[in-house]
Amino acid sequence: MPLLECKGLTRQFGALVAVDAVDMQVEPGEIRAVIGPNGAGKSTLFNLITSVLKPNAGEVVFAGENITGFPVYRVAQKGIARTFQRCHIFPALSARENVRLAAQARNARRAGAIADEALEHLRLTRFADMSADMLSHGDQRLLEVAMAIAQRPRLLMLDEPTQGLSLEETDRAVQILKAMLRAGNLSVLLVEHDMEVVFKLADNITVLHRGRVIADGAPAAVKANAEVRRAYLGGSE
């Protein structure tokens, strides 16, 4: 049984159909990337899955349960953790406090220990007592990932985790993510623009274009797909 299933998810904003009858599945333990040119509907899809936006049609089924339209906090409680495109953290709190709050939601008793572990994984331990707004942009993004894994999710959703990172920071992030993902028992849904990152990490790729799924499969197949090439040709990548 797939861990996450999107069935015919549709979302409109006035006349614009941002997500158009999207079907997608994430298997347990799978790392799936969602790619597509700008405006393809990737972030909207994320918002639909996490219930930040309610779909006009379609369902989101997580671990066999229909979670469509659940309050956002309940979706998180079910075991989905996400990072945001614009990097949401708690700026005035220390790095450890940031992660601890995330851990506390799942396991209040061991929150401190889980937080320290997560900081370790992301190699942020030396910043533990530093105020989060003092961290570099790259480290803030990693902090957000640390918060996400501290929630002990079954599905980790990363929205453009390497955006705004330098080449070196991107490399580092990919290494860390790779090590973490292989070790843990985690499924990952990842929106990414950086194709190198995608091909290094993803088991499978879903390609969105103008709200629709135009390709779905292993990286090599997607790379070779003619329609995918066409979609990207006019655009940003």
């Binding site: 906090y73 949401h88 708690f90 700026p91 005035a92 709050l101 939601a105 918060m147 929630q151």
Partner: protein, 309 residues
């Protein structure tokens, strides 16, 4: 110096105060302590959730009038009457909190103001019970339980108020330093993120508002017993205004800051009102100055100076 030591010191000193100051000063001090409790109660919402309430007088007025009516008509022992008044205030606060937390920002402020105005209007509507513009006068301090009459005298009442203030402070401090308080910090810093971590932030806000009304109601109830009367002024929007000023000028989000703010204002009022009629104007001006230049409040200034030294 550890916190425990500091607290013990302050508590110890305050126990000795009645013997060190003239009787008249004690009255002013008790008023100051009651306002400190009132201000600290508002800090839970303003400082810890960053929700600005313009209607906190409702908590104060509710506590005062409930206590006034309970003590006058039911003749229950003073501490029990006050406790009962707090319970009633908390019960009424629950639907108010539920409605107000539906919004944030200006809308939240307006909703809290609306409830306070509603309370004010109700006082005049049901003037048979509340005494209308005359209020409830001659509130007794019935003895008991077990025949104790400690609180009927000035010094006894001082200790009652002190105990309530110190006790409330300890409770509030424990709350804000607990896991619950950590969630409030998250709500304050980035509510959307806190929700996405899995917290039902609405429930946390409702709980905090209700707690805030509870402690505010306690302050009001203590006031009723202290002054011996309750008047509609307690519900007036300027009362909400003054306590908000105390919180902001004292230093929101610190529990102690608002208490300092309250002490500052009560003593300032006391000194100034003997000299000039313009003192409320001075309050308002000080408030504006602090909002513009010293948003961290008096406590923030003191801490900065301490850190720099």
């Amino acid at each position: 110096m550890s916190w425990r030591l500091r607290f013990a010191l302050v508590a110890g000193v305050s126990l000795l105060v009645p013997f060190a100051v003239p009787q008249y000063s004690l009255t002013v001090i008790v008023a100051a302590l009651i306002f400190s409790l009132f201000a600290m109660s508002l800090d839970l919402i303003v400082g810890y959730c960053r929700l600005y309430s313009f209607g906190h007088a409702a908590a104060y007025g509710l506590g005062a009038y409930c206590a006034a009516l309970i003590l006058t008509h039911l003749q229950l022992p003073l501490p029990i009457g006050i406790a009962l008044a707090v319970l009633v205030t908390v019960a009424i606060a629950i639907p108010i909190a539920w409605v107000c937390t539906r919004s944030t920002g200006v809308s939240f402020a307006m909703l809290t103001l609306a409830f306070a105005q509603l309370g004010y209007a109700m006082l005049f509507r049901f003037r048979d019970i509340t005494g209308g513009s005359d209020g409830v006068v001659g509130i007794p301090r019935p003895p008991g339980p077990f025949g104790i009459d400690w609180f009927q005298g000035r010094i006894g009442y001082y200790y009652l108020v002190l105990a309530c203030l110190l006790g409330s402070y300890l409770v509030c401090r424990a709350i804000v330093r607990s896991n619950f308080g950590a969630v409030l910090a998250g709500i304050r810093e980035n509510e959307a993120k806190t929700v996405s971590l899995g917290y039902n932030t609405r429930a946390y806000k409702i709980t905090t508002v209700v707690l805030s009304y509870g402690f505010g109601g306690l302050a009001g109830a203590l006031y009723a017993g202290f002054a011996g009367y309750a008047s509609p002024e307690l519900f007036f929007w300027l009362t909400s205004g003054h306590v908000l000023i105390m919180v902001v000028v004292g230093g929101a989000g610190t529990l102690i800051g608002p208490m300092l703010g309250a002490l500052f204002f009560v003593f300032l009022e006391h000194q100034l009102s003997q000299v000039t009629d313009l003192w409320p104007l001075i309050f308002g001006s000080i408030f504006i100055a602090f909002v513009m230049f010293f948003p961290q409040g008096i406590l923030g200034l003191l801490r900065r100076r301490h850190a720099a030294a």
